[in-house]
Symmetry: C2
């Protein structure tokens, strides 16, 4: 009882293309090959083997693995160890993908928050009452752009404890270009002390807040607005001032600086 490749394909559920490939690779050799026409003819024994191949393929074994397994003579111990190796491979894949998925979740979350922030923007000076917040911070002296090195460090160290947008505290009364006294912080959920990072409460209270849209180079304009507002109201402002980076250069794309959103908060002396 012999079947042409098309019939055999329908019987086994393997495509004609695959059957030819398996023949070429020596994995499944047709019972008879017409020497004149080259037609392949398969028998029941071939069907048995084809079934095994189909099952092994469904386990994502590679063709070379399958070839080895078929040639190894179906020894039980070999079969079991091959299955266990494959299981391990798949588990590695799964754990790899799971890691990516959880990273993706974090990023999606933060991108969504950024987008949200942009739709709820006010751009007007307003007065707010802030709650106390637990933060993890690294204080240093240097240039503003140095905090680009500090934030990644904070993120690595605090990892999944992070609970909000990064912020900077500026301890200088006036603007300093090169030797500014800056503390880069992230809000955290728990107190997990790490060498070089200070985890503490950032006290709340009444403040003046302004959401600045655009490049960081023009933050000065927004500070002027806050200063003018405070003067008008007769408020005294305390240091450190706070800058909360609602939307900055994205994790993946740098984004358009004109869309960056930064909330400036200056506490009012009461």
């Amino acid at each position: 009882m012999l079947f042409s490749i098309g019939e055999f394909s329908r019987i086994t559920g393997l495509t004609v293309k695959s059957l030819r490939l398996y023949h070429e690779k020596g994995i499944l050799i047709p019972h008879t090959i017409d020497a004149k026409t080259g037609y392949r003819y398969y028998n029941h024994q071939n069907a048995e083997k084809a079934r095994a191949i189909r099952i092994l393929r469904s386990f994502e074994f590679s063709l070379s693995d399958i070839k080895e397994m078929l040639e190894a003579g179906e020894d039980d111990a070999d079969l079991i160890s091959a299955l266990e190796r494959q299981k391990q491979n798949l588990q590695d894949q799964v754990s790899n993908y799971s890691k990516i998925i959880s990273t993706l979740n974090t990023i999606i979350q933060s991108e969504k928050e950024m987008q949200m922030a942009r739709t709820q923007q006010t751009h007007e000076v307003e007065e707010k009452t802030l709650d106390d917040t637990l933060i993890a911070g690294i204080r240093f002296k240097g240039k503003y752009c140095d905090c680009g090195n500090v934030f990644p460090k904070l993120c690595r160290q605090m990892g999944r404890y992070i609970r909000g947008k990064p912020l900077n505290l500026y301890y200088d009364a006036e603007y300093k270009e090169n030797d500014a006294d800056i503390e880069s912080c992230v809000p955290v959920r728990e107190c997990k002390p790490v060498e070089g990072i200070s985890v503490r409460n950032l006290p709340g209270g009444k403040c003046i807040s302004l959401i600045h849209q655009g490049s960081y180079e023009r933050l000065g304009e927004s500070y002027e607005k806050i200063g003018a507002y405070a003067k008008e109201k007769g408020y005294n402002l305390k240091i450190p001032s706070r800058e909360i980076y609602l939307k900055g250069p994205g994790m993946i794309f740098r984004g358009n600086p004109n869309k960056y959103l930064t909330e400036i908060q200056m506490m009012i002396e009461e």
Copy 2:
């Protein structure tokens, strides 16, 4: 500030080969290309893009996806939806692999049991006391080999409730070729009734047991041994007799019939 491809490769962590590929695909085009020598020179802007590409690749985005994303102009909504799509893809992969892993576990388990059975073989007629067992069975009249159609059906229906090796019950007092009265069964954990399948208790008791090694065609020889033993001891044997398929044609490989193991159990009338 321009970098040759080798320097840029060290900076970005992308291989030279990859950089050339990305150039060819139009994903990352060097800032300057020396018209005379064809040398590629990259700048900081390229580095920015390279970083994005590296991150996206680490999320297993395809190059064509990455190209699209880069060309789409970094719109937030698009980015988020792309990330979510990719997350979905990865989750699908994970669930696919997880299914395979659980199937592999089942098979590994059963192959191990088979192997175990073979190492503990006795091949001597012995007397045993069996416990009651919950079984799911399908009774039919036909040839012995018809049970090859029945077992897959049982396995599909009972799925993960299966708790041991398949067995057949033979209700005929003598051997019948064509019109045998057979019940194909599997032990199950729970009583999950299904149309056409009888789930019930198979009563235990004292029996004569013999493990038959070899092809099913020579089972008769083992039945004769049991018959001789029973006659010697003066036992009356009850129907149905039981055949437990400890090791038969494997799930994947057909195996060597000379290694098949079948336990024959015949209950003793007390």
